[in-house]
């Protein structure tokens, strides 16, 4: 993978990129192993929760409610956060958010920052912008560190380096940390990261983060994590800058009683992740003296404007849908051409791109529904995928094959005469392609069916070949139901 950030505007189509990923046996092995482990852990802990479905429903309602009254809760957050000593900034797009963060680092004279893992800062390519402004950003989450040192890109929302195994990680650390004698157990690698980052935690005066939840009622911020790197970044520096999507707000502190329960179980298969931090603005003598939140729109309001697509913004970034997705589990995350991979990425990215880019993503799914089943806030991802497929076709010209085919089918189905004619035509056209019923072992041939079994088609020309490339098509029956009915 390259240093070039994942960007839907320049990424190849999913189908093209997926073919490359599928050739990489090591990547597929790593992704398969990791997703199987998380899924098993998640399932065990979800099964033990007697009220899981009630929690999911409450989670959905809290998130949907927050979005329905978004401007009210953002203004309430603004009031309370400001009262608690925080400074709030608003950014319409990625560029504006980058400029705000760069300006803040310049104002305090920072030439380096320590970062908590944040998908939002990945989304706006903040590290690149900081680098261009002469500010060095150190990623401190273990997986993000692996990505940064390996000049790689994240492939998963929660475990961004899940496509790398220990041998690959060891190689990166040996090279980049200059540790020729590094061992290869996960413990050795984690210890190396601890030593490498410790000095930075104690020295660097500016932290940059995202946030899991903004609490309107208190002006509070909640960040959940495992390693303690988050706590380091949000308590040790003098200044903390959090870049947060506008959709992350929840109404009240009490709502965390639902969110914390569903998030940890869904994301990492734990009853609770090792650390949750909740704080309100600036606390005298405890943590940073200056606290900034940059509220980011970056097309989230476009998603909000689409009544059917809106539920996408309920997402709490647990990545359970990635782990459950039979497509993601084969391709890994890079094929999605966006920092948001998997089913949630397949619906979020095209919407955030105004359907201008990433139009192949709504098709990166078998619509099996596993993502919906595991989603802790009940986002109906298959429903949104179909909605987006519809939009993709709507946007295309009249000559789009799917559109022409559907128009033709509609015309045929509207008239009985045309329907019967089409059936006759179909039977004639398929005749040279049909092979006799194969004698399948164990298949019981029904009495009389010898004469009516229509046979199979193994090859179709052109676009229709997409079907027969991977499976046979049953030929049309010799006698239709209507014919049979009329003969009675």
């Amino acid at each position: 993978m390259s240093r070039i950030p994942l960007d839907p505007r320049t990424a190849p189509s999913f189908q093209t990129a997926a073919k490359v990923s599928l050739q990489d046996a090591q990547l597929r092995k790593n992704v398969k192993h990791a997703t199987e482990v998380i899924q098993a852990k998640r399932k065990k802990l979800v099964d033990e929760k007697k009220d899981w479905q009630e929690l999911r429903e409450a989670g959905r309602q809290i998130r949907a409610h927050s979005l329905a009254h978004l401007e009210i809760y953002l203004e309430e957050f603004e009031r309370n956060f400001t009262r608690a000593g925080g400074v709030l900034h608003w950014a319409r797009d990625a560029k504006e958010a980058q400029e705000i963060v760069v300006r803040l680092t310049k104002e305090i004279g920072a030439d380096e920052v320590i970062k908590i893992k944040s998908m939002t800062t990945e989304e706006i390519q903040l590290n690149r912008a900081l680098e261009a402004a002469g500010v060095k950003a150190y990623e401190t989450d273990l997986a993000e560190l692996i990505i940064q040192l390996g000049e790689d890109q994240p492939s998963h929302i929660v475990v961004p380096a899940l496509h790398k195994n220990r041998a690959q990680i060891r190689e990166i650390f040996m090279r980049e940390m200059d540790l020729p004698d590094l061992g290869d157990t996960p413990q050795d690698l984690a210890d190396a990261a601890r030593t490498f980052l410790r000095e930075k935690f104690l020295r660097v005066k500016t932290g940059v983060s995202g946030a899991n939840f903004l609490i309107a009622e208190t002006g509070g911020i909640c960040i959940v994590e495992s390693e303690g790197n988050g706590r380091m970044c949000l308590t040790m520096p003098e200044t903390l800058i959090a870049v947060v999507g506008i959709e992350k707000v929840i109404p009240r502190f009490q709502d965390l009683e639902v969110m914390l329960q569903i998030l940890a179980r869904s994301a990492t298969g734990e009853r609770m992740n090792p650390y949750n931090s909740i704080w309100t603005g600036v606390h005298e003598g405890d943590g940073p003296k200056a606290m900034h939140v940059v509220l980011l729109d970056n097309a989230r309001t476009d998603v909000l404007a689409d009544g059917e697509g809106r539920q996408t913004l309920q997402c709490i970034r647990c990545a359970a849908c990635l782990n459950a997705c039979p497509v993601y589990r084969q391709t890994g995350g890079h094929a999605y051409g966006s920092v948001y991979a998997g089913p949630i990425g397949a619906i979020l990215t095209p919407q955030m791109m105004g359907m201008e880019h990433a139009q192949s993503l709504p098709y990166a799914s078998s619509l099996c529904g596993a993502c919906y089943e595991v989603c802790p806030v009940k986002i109906n991802i298959p429903e949104v995928l179909i909605h987006l497929r519809h939009k993709v076709v709507e946007r295309s010209g009249w000559w789009a094959p799917e559109k022409v085919a559907m128009k033709a089918v509609a015309a045929v189905f509207r008239s009985e005469k045309r329907f019967r004619a089409a059936q006759r035509l179909g039977r004639m056209a398929e005749a040279p392609l049909v092979k006799k019923e194969k004698q399948v072992e164990g298949l019981v041939q029904l009495k009389g069916s010898e004469t009516t079994t229509p046979g199979w088609i193994g090859w179709l020309p052109g676009l229709m070949g997409g079907w027969t490339d991977t499976r046979d098509l049953q030929a049309m029956p010799k006698e239709t139901f209507r014919d049979w009915w009329e003969k009675r």
Binding site: H65, H69, L70, W90, G220, P251, R252, E257, H283, G287
Partner: protein, 212 residues
Amino acid sequence: MSEARGAILDRIRAAKGASSTASAAETYAQISRTYLHGGDRDREGIVDLMEERLREYDAGVFRVAHDEAGAIVARLLQARGLSRVLVPAGLPTEWMRGCEFVVDAAFNAGELDSFDGVLTTATVGIAETGTIVLQNAPGQGRRAITLVPDYQMCVLRVDDLVETVVEAMGRLEKTKELATTFFSGPSATADIEMTRIKGVHGPRFVDVLLVS
């Protein structure tokens, strides 16, 4: 800046129709909260569950009577060979036994790093998840002191232990604006091949005293 603020708020209203504080309050009250609020264990069962969960996280767990707590603290610190332990203001002095205790005095990062460990009380414990909640209050102190030292000892009164997350959030309602840290065992990561490894940047060694 205010230009962006106005633009975003306008876009939100245009996207879904404007809302009002009154309608937000009204529909918020209708959110269905049929999930379980309390648990079904008795006090002894809750303490057992807490112990089991903490052990799963590889924390040390010790159930002690109030009067013996100081002696146990001294024994544990000595067994680990710790000589200089950081404490927050407001910690009961009868627990400070067995080595040198230094009360936090706005130490900088380097100074915090020089301590062998830290000893605090806690606001509430959650048995279901093996979680302990610390807040910036007397006996618990600011967030950095329980983060930088490599060893953490926490004294949790059994009376402050609840079974479920929902019960704990209810108890925290009064002090919800304080700086708050939930910790569930020592720091950990599963970023390498999803293998849980104890101890990355937070304290790698944690002992919990459950005091009745």
